[in-house]
């Protein structure tokens, strides 16, 4: 696949934009074409929000991911809104602590991760998004762990060492599931 469209969808405040930024940065480190586009506006204030990321080997036209190759759904409204848009053969990762819904689609690969619960159990409150990032990277292979780790360093900033460790721990956890 020369182009991957990844859509993070959920509530504002769940770290959707940051998850997207980590992936886009990883793409940049691997010298690929990347784009990142948030939904903006009232969604920022707690409504449904999403973030489109593209990683590509060709120049990117539209940065809007309306038919995702990979969907990360972090709440029920987003899941219902986008599940039918995922391309056949696409990957869907859901936070099953928050999304309890079924689909009849047999042509997608669906992975359920109790990200919110696991993050609370593991002392990783507030970064369940990174557990999901770990899972999506493991299942899709769109980026290597090494690059991802470099991207976290770039996005978190070397000064915030504890946050750096938390994020990487969460990604590793997600990759182990």
């Amino acid at each position: 696949m020369s182009t991957s469209g990844i859509l993070f969808a959920g509530f504002g405040g769940q770290g959707l934009l940051f998850s997207g930024k980590i992936l886009a940065t990883a793409g940049l480190i691997e010298n690929r074409e990347v784009s990142w586009l948030p939904s903006y506006g009232p969604e920022m204030r707690g409504g449904t929000a999403n973030c489109s990321v593209r990683l590509s080997d060709e120049p990117i036209g539209s940065p809007i991911v309306s038919k995702p190759d990979i969907l990360v759904a972090m709440n029920i409204p987003s899941y219902h809104k986008f599940i039918s848009e995922v391309v056949p053969g696409g990957i869907v990762v859901t936070d099953s602590s928050l999304v309890k819904a079924h689909t009849d689609r047999m042509d997608i690969k669906r992975f359920e991760v109790e990200a919110t619960k696991i993050s609370q159990d593991e002392g990783l409150d507030g970064i369940s998004n990174m557990i999901l990032v770990g899972k999506l990277v493991k299942e899709s292979g769109i980026i290597s762990f090494n690059t991802l780790e470099k991207a976290v360093h770039k996005c978190v900033g070397e000064k915030k060492v504890h946050l750096l460790e938390y994020n990487i721990k969460a990604i590793k956890l997600g990759m182990s599931l």
């Binding site: 940049l28 784009s35 990117i60 036209g61 539209s62 809007i64």
Partner: protein, 354 residues
């Protein structure tokens, strides 16, 4: 060379402005351009510059008028409803021959409209930016890289011709992140002997003014300015050709819609449809020659815009009936997908010229 960084279009533009020597920014918050103001408020104190949040868009553009009168590189930014308010100032800036940059990160109108991306201010930017006979340079970036690069070019050209310049972006370009290589910091040494910066008792007083009560004098001022506009039209037109050499269906689109059109025509090529894109980078001056050259071998022209069809009138004027000009647009903040545009291309391919 600078390393590639991931940046939002709005922020890349703001950094590009600073690196182009802009140290005076006057703004007012409005979605989806507020990151420009926020970025400037963070950066300006570190580079000895001025960030000022004005009481209104009207005040902001008039602060730019004051700063430009003093001879410094000054800018303001806003989004569509705020640009309506700046029209007054833009007219005075043009009438007073003041160089500056105004950024419009367009959102949907009319009225308060919406906050999603739009290109419905094309007429406002190119046809009627303010009352009176006037033009303003209008640049249309279509990547984050161009957001960073064109702002510097806009400042240079504004200074060179003593005209206001506009960067006409949209919410998508403003909000999206893409890798960008930031332009190098450049020292600006533009001589502005006309500036109102204090005569130091060494020269006659300078007057920055747009009022000429004698009609013949005013007409001559305008005629002189239009001579300058003619030079601009001759020298400063810019457009990008993408697969136009053998294109039978020539797409004309700028900014965000050009990106979508590019994806669509790449897909069309895979289906054996010879489509190409002519992307205006300057909207005023409009690339009339470039369009006609690209249209030479084309059978049909398709204009794609995020509006009900504004630039399409300029395309029609450019080709003067020599080619059929089709239009496809979405408005109100809706974005067409590449598939939507591809379907239009297929339709034109199937139906041929009507």
């Amino acid at each position: 060379m600078e390393e590639k960084v991931l940046m939002k279009g709005n922020e890349a533009l703001a950094e590009g402005a600073i690196r182009a020597g802009c140290r005076h920014y006057f703004g007012y918050p409005i979605t989806p351009q507020t990151e420009i103001a926020a970025y400037m408020s963070r950066r300006m104190p570190h580079v000895g510059g001025i960030f000022l949040q004005a009481e209104s868009e009207i005040a902001a553009v008039n602060m730019v008028l004051g700063a430009a009168s003093a001879g410094v590189r000054a800018m303001t930014s806003s989004s569509s409803p705020g640009i309506s308010l700046k029209s007054e100032g833009i007219s005075y800036l043009a009438g007073s021959d003041l160089p500056c940059v105004i950024v419009n990160i367009q959102r949907a109108g009319p009225g308060l409209g919406g906050i999603q991306p739009s290109q419905a201010d094309y007429y406002l930017a190119t046809k009627s930016p303010g009352h009176g006979d006037l033009h303003m340079l209008v640049f249309a970036p279509s990547t984050v890289q161009e957001m960073a690069d064109l702002i510097s070019h806009a400042f240079n050209k504004a200074d060179e011709y003593r005209v206001p310049a506009m960067i006409l972006g949209d919410g998508m370009l403003g909000q999206m992140m893409e890798p960008v290589i930031l332009p190098a910091e450049r020292e600006v040494k533009t001589s502005k002997p006309w500036a109102a910066n204090g005569h130091q008792n060494k020269r006659p007083h300078n007057i920055i003014n747009s009022l000429f009560l004698e009609a013949d004098i005013l007409e001559n001022r305008i005629l002189d300015r239009y001579k300058r506009y003619a030079v601009i039209e001759h020298n400063e037109t810019r457009a990008e050709n993408f697969m136009t050499d053998d294109a039978k269906i020539l797409i004309i689109a700028y900014g965000a819609s050009a990106r979508i059109a590019k994806s669509a025509l790449t897909a069309a090529r895979k289906e054996g449809i010879a489509a190409g894109l002519l992307r205006p980078i300057t909207l005023w001056p409009f690339p009339v020659k470039e369009i006609n050259a690209a249209a030479e071998n084309a059978r049909d022209i398709l204009t794609v815009e995020l509006s009900m069809g504004q630039m399409v009138t300029d395309v029609k004027l450019a080709v003067q009936g020599r080619r059929p000009v089709h239009f496809f647009g979405r408005t109100g903040g809706m974005m067409p997908t590449p598939e939507d545009v591809l379907e239009e291309i297929r339709k034109i391919e199937r139906n041929g010229s009507i």
